[in-house]
């Protein structure tokens, strides 16, 4: 058992970084708090934590001294892999009493693991959107057009995000590109309204939407509403991009 063997402030510094990373990569608040407390408990310390959308406040205590820190939550891409592995790491620390240096090594390995290769994501997401078109009653021609529209929209999103452009602008531009490509379906005798409707759906921010509801239901109303507000703004950006296309082609859709 590592009870009190590790320095209080070293453990606090690690837990602050760990919790901020979990919040940044799209994990709902109660899981972040549970995992952070679990790691603190494994070292024999009590963890108190307040979570906001852009920062968190963490205090670690033993019988005599507290150690506190306010950390910024970084903006990171959503990662379910980090969600799974970091949560499992907290249990491993709790059950196997990992020393802090080994814990940090495992944490660094998890967060530096490469994500799925972008071209593979592009292919899978485009197939997904084409399937979505089929689920809404689109025909094979519409599916092909939606596939190509998604390739164009998502490719633009990946490139713009990698260049560090503001993500609202990225969402507007990607929705515009995908819906403009999908509007070529108006040339053909096909289900063009379904093609247009589904072309932008790969952008729907499902993770903050659902995490927002979970947070609110679990009593973390501030972070829940912050996540829902973030999701609503992104949905408005998608609507702006789609509206711009519809503005040009509306007469052919009526």
């Amino acid at each position: 058992m590592n009870r009190k063997e590790e320095n209080l402030c070293d453990v606090e510094e690690f837990i602050a970084e760990y919790a901020a990373h979990m919040m940044g990569c799209g994990i709902h608040t109660s899981r972040v708090i549970r995992s952070a407390k679990r790691i603190g408990e494994a070292y024999g310390y009590v963890v108190k934590i307040s979570v906001f959308q852009k920062s968190l406040i963490l205090t670690l205590k033993d019988e005599h001294n507290p150690c506190s820190e306010v950390v910024d939550i970084p903006s990171l891409p959503i990662s379910f892999e980090h969600n799974s592995e970091l949560s499992a790491l907290s249990w491993e620390t709790y059950d196997d009493h990992l020393p802090l240096d080994i814990l940090r090594g495992k944490y660094n390995r998890i967060i530096s693991a490469p994500p799925i290769h972008p071209p593979i994501v592009l292919l899978f997401a485009s197939l997904a959107n084409a399937s979505f078109c089929r689920l809404f009653g689109g025909d094979w021609c519409s599916m092909g057009i939606v596939f190509l529209a998604t390739v164009a929209g998502l490719f633009l999103k990946q490139k713009m995000s990698a260049s560090g452009i503001n993500h609202y602008i990225v969402f507007i531009a990607s929705a515009l590109a995908a819906s403009l490509c999908a509007s070529t379906s108006l040339i053909f005798d096909t289900t063009s309204d379904i093609a247009l409707a589904t072309s932008v759906l790969f952008l729907v921010p499902g993770v903050p939407l659902i995490n927002g509801v979970i947070d609110i239901v679990e009593g973390h109303t501030l972070t829940g509403f912050a996540r829902l507000t973030q999701a609503a703004l992104l949905i408005i950006c998608i609507a702006i991009g789609l509206s711009s296309t519809l503005f040009f082609v509306k007469d052919r859709l009526i």
């Binding site: 799209g26 994990i27 709902h28 899981r31 549970r34 891409p77 959503i78 990662s79 379910f80 892999e81 980090h82 969600n83 799974s84 592995e85 949560s87 499992a88 907290s90 249990w91 491993e92 059950d95 994500p115 799925i116 593979i120 994501v121 899978f124 997401a125 485009s126 197939l127 997904a128 959107n129 399937s131 979505f132 089929r134 689920l135 809404f136 309204d193 379904i194 247009l196 409707a197 589904t198 759906l201 790969f202 729907v204 499902g206 993770v207 939407l209 659902i210 995490n211 509801v213 979970i214 239901v217 609507a239 789609l242 509206s243 519809l246 503005f247 509306k250 859709l253 009526i254």
Partner: protein, 163 residues
């Protein structure tokens, strides 16, 4: 023919679940369960709507609840939190056509401000589509999250390897 329709619905929902999941970088071991949950959930909603005449909101709630329960079951097998499995599996049930009609009717409403009949038609269309979209998305989230409150102990220890 009915069986083919159900299987085709499940098949395309599975592909949609895998693809939308890939955007959020899930662990590789979770993909097959995401596909399975997306297929079962969407096929359930399809059957309820097509053969039982249930409307989209209730059918989505039922589909989402099945996905939530499934993610609780499979989460232990792949040591992944429920959200990792159920969020990608829910995405094929997003009411995209209603969301599109919402945006389309807003544009047409603004375009027909001088024609009271057309204006009212598009306003009605906007509100009905908005209500359906918001209700379905909310019920999807609630339905899938509900098992988390029914079985909180299991839900919080899915990533634990030690029994």
């Amino acid at each position: 023919m009915i069986a083919i329709n159900i299987l085709s619905d499940a098949f395309f929902a599975a592909i949609a679940g895998i693809g939308f999941g890939a955007i959020s970088n899930p662990p590789l071991r979770a993909f097959r369960y995401i596909a399975l949950l997306a297929a079962v959930g969407h096929a359930c909603r399809y059957c309820l709507m097509t053969f039982s005449g249930v409307e989209i909101a209730t059918a989505s709630l039922a589909g989402a609840f099945i996905i939530g329960m499934g993610s609780l079951w499979f989460g232990k097998k792949v040591h992944s939190p429920m959200t990792v499995l159920y969020i990608p599996a829910l995405l094929p049930m997003i009411p995209g056509k209603f969301a599109y009609n919402m945006v389309f009717s807003l544009i047409m409403f603004l375009h027909s401000m001088d024609d009271p009949v057309e204006k009212m038609k598009y306003m009605d269309m906007f509100f009905s589509n908005t209500m359906v979209t918001i209700t379905v998305v909310f019920l999807l989230a609630v339905g899938a999250t509900f098992p988390l409150f029914l079985f909180p102990k299991r839900a919080s220890s899915l990533t634990r390897h030690k029994i």
